[in-house]
């Protein structure tokens, strides 16, 4: 394979989804859990993104970060900073971030009106 030549080839035209102004909500239970996680330090943010993979093709990616180098929308909900990468915004508009308190499979849960299906564990959707 001659990658010296290959580099002159044009990239495959990638689908660039429209960037959507994201509306999202956080349930009371999830806000309580975020309060526990953040404490009084509200400089940290909750990054809500989507990665490829999982049984259904897309996986939620939740991280607590100070900042990110990704191009993001910053949303302030009751004092919590939420970052949503523009690249995933079309998949995350209208979501509710909830917290499920269960011995097994508990934790943050995303209710997503854009998802046609999701896998049993709730981490993956299509």
């Amino acid at each position: 394979m001659d990658c010296g030549t290959c580099e002159t080839s044009s990239p495959v035209q990638l689908m660039t989804p429209e960037v959507v102004d994201v509306n999202l909500s956080i349930s009371n239970k999830a806000q309580e859990m975020l309060s526990d996680a953040f404490g009084d330090d509200r400089s940290m943010a909750l990054l809500v993104g989507v990665l490829s993979g999982g049984c259904s093709g897309y996986m939620y990616d939740l991280q607590i970060v100070e900042d990110t180098d990704q191009s993001c929308q910053e949303i302030n909900i009751d004092g919590f900073r939420v970052l949503v990468p523009n690249a995933s915004s079309h998949l995350l508009d209208g979501i509710e971030i909830d917290y499920v308190d269960r011995l097994m499979g508990g934790g943050f849960k995303i209710n997503n009106p854009n998802a046609e299906s999701s896998c049993g564990c709730g981490e993956s959707f299509a």
Partner: protein, 216 residues
């Protein structure tokens, strides 16, 4: 040296998340050069590809007829990950050798279960010394599935002799729930077998034997 030119595409992926991206969407554990299968949610095959690490890049070599379906599958899933994709098919030709192919400058050679896959720049001349009929006879003798014959969008990996490309313990990917259920229930449906003669349901017909996908 028995070599056949394949009707293949070559996509070159770059970016630090390439392998993780491919691993999250295909049946085999992708952490380096390997063969893997991309499947739909119903576990039917999109394409079986050779994943070839080339320096910091990763080449995907698959069947030309399935290229657009695979691109359509991968394309919308490149979201926040550092992955870029180029189509370098026009600069390269792909061959399969049924014998070990000697190392050759600028030619990428990988050993796979099908034989040695040889990816050569178009500027390098490689003699295709084997015709399709001879290749099919070799496949029938060795129970090797091929794109468009056994590996089609109507089959899943267990049907067409690609069970070894479905990793037993890796995490989720599209189609995994169905494949894992089939395997755990020991109910993988039809299998690729070698049969005598040339029956109506043969997927590849040879002189004395054929390949067929049957319930056994």
């Amino acid at each position: 040296m028995r070599v056949l030119e394949l009707d293949s595409y070559v996509l070159l992926l770059s970016g630090k998340d390439c392998l993780q991206f491919l691993d999250g969407l295909s049946t085999n554990k992708v952490d380096g050069t390997c063969t893997t299968v991309f499947t739909k949610p119903n576990a039917k095959i999109i394409d079986m590809v050779e994943v070839i690490c080339v320096g910091e890049n990763v080449a995907l070599v698959g069947h030309n007829e399935f290229k657009q379906d695979l691109v359509n599958h991968l394309n919308p899933r490149i979201l926040q990950q550092d992955v870029q994709m180029r189509d370098i098919s026009e600069f390269n030709k792909v061959y399969i050798s049924v014998e070990r192919y000697p190392e050759t400058e600028k030619v990428t050679i990988v050993e796979t279960f099908r034989g040695w896959i040889v990816v050569a720049p178009t500027s390098i001349s490689i003699n295709a010394t084997m015709d399709e009929e001879e290749f099919h006879e070799h496949r029938i003798d060795n129970l090797i599935p091929h794109h468009g014959y056994e590996i089609t969008s109507a089959s899943h990996p267990f049907n067409c002799g690609l069970h070894h490309l479905v990793h037993e313990s890796k995490g989720c990917y599209v189609g995994q729930e169905i494949l894992t259920r089939m395997r755990s229930r020991n109910n993988t449906g039809k299998s690729l077998i070698r049969v005598e003669g040339n029956p109506d349901d043969a997927t590849t017909s040879g002189k004395t034997h054929s390949l067929a996908i049957r319930r056994v």
